[in-house]
């Protein structure tokens, strides 16, 4: 079999064509949004939301109800609940978030573990199966991705300002809390869009990893968004071929490809600084390091 056969053979099937389109759509939206997630330091929140949607997804699965609707409702509810926790319960911060998302995940697990031979369903919910993407998933993902990109375009300036300098943004009178809620909501929507293809546990990787790689390669936010989107959709395509040819869970292959790109970006980054200098800075005491 030649290389061309390897690339073209999967394209004769509807399901692989659908998978490639799904990953293109997801890659562009998650890649662009991810730059802001990384900039604002929300990796943990993104991961938390991936866990939080699980009870909604399990409910949709058990009731045969539309995934996007139930998942979307759970995700938005938990995103805004999480924003509330972060602002109101300053005493607890990260642990509070971890406890809440673990509780939500445990609830989903308890619901599904009551059913017979639940493992297959669970693995698909957690790690995704891009070849199971149907027309309904594709439509909802496309709509969500379009909405996310439009929202980013419409709110570009204020939201980037908040990500870079929340204190300054508040000082000039921007509604920082509202913009944070919008950002959390967009992350929740992106998580739901990626559920079928990448899975609840791995979907945040599409937000974090390509964006972190882009940050090493491009300077401006728009430049980072373009690079990040390109890397995310490329990783998605690699994942589709890997799950078609090697029969591995698509989410895992997609994320590993993205991590490989990150490794290359790290090695190739023009702006690396030596370990020693960073260590000297750390020894001088960074404020973020001091415990509360």
């Amino acid at each position: 079999m030649t290389a061309a056969d390897l690339l073209l053979a999967p394209l004769q099937f509807d399901l692989t064509r659908r998978a490639l389109i799904e990953l293109t759509v997801l890659g562009v939206a998650c890649g662009a949004l991810g730059v802001l997630v990384v900039l604002r330091g929300l990796s943990f929140i993104g991961d938390a939301l991936g866990h939080c949607v699980v009870p909604g997804v399990v409910a949709a699965h058990l009731l045969g109800a539309p995934l996007a609707l139930w998942g979307g409702a759970t995700a938005l509810l938990s995103a805004w609940g999480m924003a509330f926790l972060v602002r109101r319960l300053r005493l607890a911060g990260d642990p509070a978030i971890a406890i809440v998302f673990s509780g939500a995940f445990a609830l989903g697990l308890a619901m599904i573990s009551g059913t017979r031979s639940y493992y297959g369903d669970l693995a698909e919910i957690l790690f995704g199966n891009v070849l199971a993407v149907d027309v309904r998933d594709l439509t909802s993902s496309t709509l969500i991705a379009a909405f996310v990109l439009l929202a980013l375009a419409a709110l570009y300036r204020p939201i980037v300002f908040v990500c870079f300098d929340p204190v300054g943004a508040r000082a000039v009178g921007l509604p920082v809390d509202v913009l944070d809620l919008v950002l959390y909501g967009l992350i929740a929507l992106a998580v739901v869009a990626g559920l079928t293809a990448v899975g609840a546990l791995l979907v945040t990787a599409l937000l974090i990893v390509p964006a972190a790689a882009a940050r090493l390669l491009a300077r401006t936010v728009v430049g980072q968004m373009v690079v990040s989107s390109a890397l995310a959709l490329l990783a998605g395509w690699v994942g589709v071929y890997a799950s078609y040819d090697l029969n591995v869970a698509s989410g895992g292959a997609i994320v590993l490809a993205a991590v490989a790109f990150f490794g290359v970006a790290l090695a190739a980054s023009p702006r690396r600084r030596s370990l020693a200098r960073r260590a000297a800075l750390a020894a001088a005491g960074r404020p973020s390091e001091s415990p509360a």
Binding site: A92, G103, A110
Partner: protein
């Protein structure tokens, strides 16, 4: 059935089974480790790092099963690799601390997922790693867990003062010449050992809850470190024992019940505790 008989059927009869006895011992061991280490995890803001360390156990266990090597050993090697990778990434410019943890842990999780497919691992094993298998704990597993918990306990006791000083006043710890970086590494090692026991009980995904929930709940009620450790141990072990008894009677995943109980305890304490939201509002 008289109430006494009913109580005996609910509480004593399950003890006739070896899997229940082993499970109960295992959750109590986990409770001790979580109580001792959790307080440091909460204070040192290692929640996300702890989450990452428990996810690393996943590929380690997949590899260990494929190569037929000891699971606990593989888990410890895997977590050591994670600590190294995260610290190396954090030293890079333009990679945020939070992204460094995120990338490493999600990459290792994905590696585990891909290896399952490539190595054709039995799905039952994967399920056990993901959601825990406390009722499948063997005598050998129990010995391994006991060894880890004794190690964690004796290190915390031996190095109690320096560990607490680093957690609460980093500047002074450095000023009096404590090896802060070595103590940080040691703490990460303790978290990794605890996470290895936690994964056996509640699975990879939920281990972060047993790492932080008992301690975070205890710290809502008491302030002193030894009291917080004792209370956190009691909460974790209590939730474990109660959860196991519940799942003996209702067939759902024991790990999920344990974590739900811990979540309820935390939320109730956050609302009703001495510094609770409800009380504070009433007072203010």
């Amino acid at each position: 059935m008289t109430p006494v008989e009913a109580l005996r059927a609910a509480l004593v009869d399950p003890l006739a089974y070896a899997f229940m006895r082993n499970g109960l011992l295992e959750v109590v061991l986990l409770g001790v480790a979580c109580g001792l280490v959790g307080v440091f995890v909460v204070h040192q803001r290692l929640t996300f790092f702890g989450h990452a360390l428990s996810h690393t156990v996943f590929p380690a266990l997949v590899v260990a099963t494929a190569l037929r090597v000891d699971l606990t050993l593989a888990a410890l090697v895997g977590t050591a690799a994670t600590i190294g990778l995260v610290l190396a990434l954090r030293a890079q410019r333009d990679v945020g601390d939070d992204s460094a943890v995120g990338i490493v842990f999600i990459g290792l999780l994905a590696l585990g997922v891909v290896l399952i497919g490539l190595l054709r691992i039995r799905s039952q094993l994967v399920a056990d790693v993901l959601v825990g298998d406390v009722l499948g704990v063997s005598a050998a597993d129990l010995t391994a867990s006991a060894g880890l918990v004794v190690l964690v306990g004796s290190l915390v006791l031996a190095l109690y003062r320096p560990l607490v000083l680093v957690a609460f006043d980093r500047g002074s710890a450095r000023a009096i010449g404590l090896p802060v970086f070595a103590l940080d590494l040691l703490l990460l090692g303790l978290v990794a050992a605890t996470a290895t026991v936690g994964v056996r009980v509640v699975g990879v995904v939920l281990t972060v809850a047993v790492l932080v929930a008992p301690a975070a709940t205890a710290l809502l009620w008491v302030r002193r470190v030894p009291s917080a450790m004792a209370l956190a141990t009691a909460i974790a072990a209590g939730a474990g024992v109660l959860g196991l008894y519940l799942t003996y009677h209702v067939p759902i995943a024991p790990g999920s019940v344990l974590v739900l109980l811990l979540t309820v305890a935390f939320v109730a304490s956050a609302l009703l505790g001495p510094r609770g939201i409800l009380r504070r509002r009433r007072a203010g």
